[in-house]
């Protein structure tokens, strides 16, 4: 007991613990936690039946299907192509590699409204890409496919940036060992490299999926926001807000919030598990 006390005392040679922790908690509470709690306050003004009725309205249900479906597909496509991009950037040399590497973060840096109008104009009937797809009978603007395209754009960096550092740190000796034991390249990839990258890939997938669920700016221009067809959940919330029906808007927001929190939690658990796993395997 006494040694424990001395130890904690000694850890705090540095000043400012109470001050910085105090400010951190104060600012966190003021900006994030108190406003966020208003969501649950507003929801509690509805009875359970009213709440259930609101969150299961046909327009809301259709929006969940579209939002979750398109986000999942977009994250899946990004997991596949993002993995290839990360692989190419880490393992190969080619002209313009550094420029490409820097530009991968464009969807993080480009404001969503700019991305939105750009994608909408590219995939419009007369747009740069749309004019080639239109004769083939593929319509992107004002369809669910458009939602998917926008969500793919904004989710792109997540996979690349989570897989890339892990791939860089992989010990080449493991591959060499596998190869020297007679494994061919394909076996080395699937049995040695891929399993080590799976946690990063899963984390990146979840982050891209979570980001896509809440996305608004880049989707609304290309989607056309037709109720029951191309309306994503944030647009449904926005629609209720425009009609000043805050209770309804909040009820649907709660559904989206709960899913986001679960995803955030699973990312944290995943990372915690990976860290633990790595540290035990090193020991």
């Amino acid at each position: 007991m006494a040694t424990k006390y001395i130890k904690t005392k000694r850890l705090r040679v540095l000043p400012g613990f109470k001050l910085t922790l105090g400010f951190t908690l104060f600012y966190l509470g003021l900006i994030v936690l108190i406003p966020l709690s208003a969501v649950f306050w507003k929801t509690s003004s509805l009875t359970w039946n009213e709440f259930w009725h609101t969150v299961t309205l046909p327009t809301a249900l259709a929006s969940y299907r579209l939002t979750f479906g398109a986000s999942f597909l977009a994250a899946l496509v990004n997991a596949c192509f993002g993995f290839i991009v990360a692989w190419v950037l880490v393992r190969y040399q080619f002209f313009g590699k550094r420029l490409v590497d820097a530009l991968v973060d464009l969807p993080f840096a480009l404001p969503t409204a700019v991305a939105g109008i750009t994608l909408a104009s590219l995939y419009a009937k007369a747009g740069w890409i749309g004019q080639w797809l239109d004769p083939l009978g593929i319509k992107v603007a004002n369809t669910q496919l458009g939602v998917f395209v926008a969500l793919t754009f904004i989710g792109l960096p997540f996979i690349v940036r989570t897989v890339q550092p892990i791939l860089e740190d992989l010990d080449p000796e493991l591959e060499e060992a596998a190869a020297s034991l007679g494994a061919n390249r394909w076996q080395v990839f699937w049995r040695v490299i891929f399993p080590m990258l799976t946690p990063a890939l899963l984390t990146g997938f979840t982050l891209a999926f979570a980001r896509a669920l809440g996305e608004y700016g880049s989707v609304i221009f290309i989607a056309g926001n037709i109720p029951m067809k191309t309306q994503i959940t944030p647009v449904v919330i926005m629609g209720e807000l425009d009609m000043f029906d805050y209770a309804k808007a909040t009820a649907i927001a709660v559904v989206l919030l709960v899913v986001s929190f679960v995803l955030l939690l699973s990312v944290n658990v995943l990372q915690w598990w990976t860290n633990r796993h790595n540290s035990t395997s090193l020991a």
């Binding site: 464009l106 409204a113 890409i129 955030l264």
Partner: protein, 308 residues
């Protein structure tokens, strides 16, 4: 972007290559697939922003940007960023100091809570401030209550007609919320990796707390801090969803640059919308350039470091 012969960079021992790297054909295929995907989803959109912005020539471009409505949007965007970025920067340093330099219970919970705004939809980020400050929200109910607690506060709010939602303060608050974690997220892992040995050494040699921070900690984290500030600023100036909920979109008054772009687009003034959008696209490119430069600097700094 044509790939150069990749075999130049390979170890030349035959046999080694087969199991330790892919055949040249597979390499070229993978590079081709990656570049094709990125061209479709990144490069083409980027080029098209500038091409469409200048579709009606430079005269129209500058006319759109110098329009009073556009200038007012630019001004408001700068105001919001000028308030949000320093506040979140200060918070980020405080949070990183307390989390990286001290041990306490509930640290992981605190870390998760700091990350919260990243996982919340922009529309909901705006909504929560409407619920707090809107007419049907806490502040509205308080102002119209028959017997409010602290009647002087209710009177003061009513007398001065304090408006937060559909006004500038709401935009600033929403911007602070969505950019909340950026600086903290950059600094926490960096300061955790650096540990507290250097600071403790400085303290034991008689430096005061402030001296330790200014002379030891700050030089160590300056590139990470700059990195966080750059990302925070980019998001602050580009935020659309959250600001769109709280702004009310009064042209010339509560429109930020992204909202002005939407207004022009909804007016079918596409070239105008892209002209203003090109400003933000330029900002994005500058952000990426600075980010790459800072990453380079930070890597150089950590290479020369002599951590025990």
């Amino acid at each position: 972007m044509t790939p150069v012969a990749p075999s130049l960079h390979l170890p030349s021992r035959p046999g080694h290559r087969r199991a330790n790297s892919e055949s040249p054909g597979v390499r070229r295929l993978l590079i081709g697939v990656a570049l094709a995907f990125l061209s479709l989803f990144l490069f083409l959109p980027l080029i098209s922003v500038f091409a469409q912005a200048l579709a009606k020539g430079f005269h129209f471009y500058f006319q759109t940007i110098r329009d009073p409505m556009a200038l007012s949007a630019i001004k408001l965007t700068f105001i919001a960023a000028a308030i949000a970025v320093p506040l979140n920067c200060f918070f980020g340093v405080c949070a990183a100091w307390t989390i990286a330099k001290f041990e306490f219970r509930g640290k992981n919970i605190l870390l998760t809570l700091i990350d919260l705004p990243f996982s919340i939809s922009p529309v909901i980020s705006g909504l929560i401030y409407v619920l707090v400050f809107g007419a049907q929200g806490w502040m509205g109910l308080y102002r119209n209550a028959d017997h409010p607690a602290w009647p002087w506060l209710a009177n003061w709010l009513n007398e001065h007609d304090v408006r937060i939602i559909f006004a500038v303060p709401g935009i600033v608050l929403a911007t602070i919320f969505v950019t909340f974690p950026f600086v903290a997220r950059e600094l926490i892992p960096l300061m955790q990796a650096q540990g507290r040995n250097e600071e403790e050494a400085a303290r034991s040699l008689g430096a005061s707390g402030w001296q330790t921070f200014w002379r030891i900690t700050l030089p160590n984290i300056k590139w990470g801090l700059l990195y966080g500030v750059i990302l925070c600023n980019a998001r602050a100036m580009g935020e659309f969803g959250a600001v769109s909920v709280v702004s009310g979109k009064i042209r010339g008054e509560t429109n930020t640059i992204p909202l002005h772009i939407e207004a022009l687009y909804d007016d079918y003034n596409f070239t105008g919308a892209f002209a203003v959008a090109s400003l933000l696209a330029l900002l994005a490119l500058v952000t990426l350039g600075l980010k790459t430069w800072v990453e380079h600097k930070q890597a150089a700094l950590s290479e020369t470091d002599i951590f025990p």
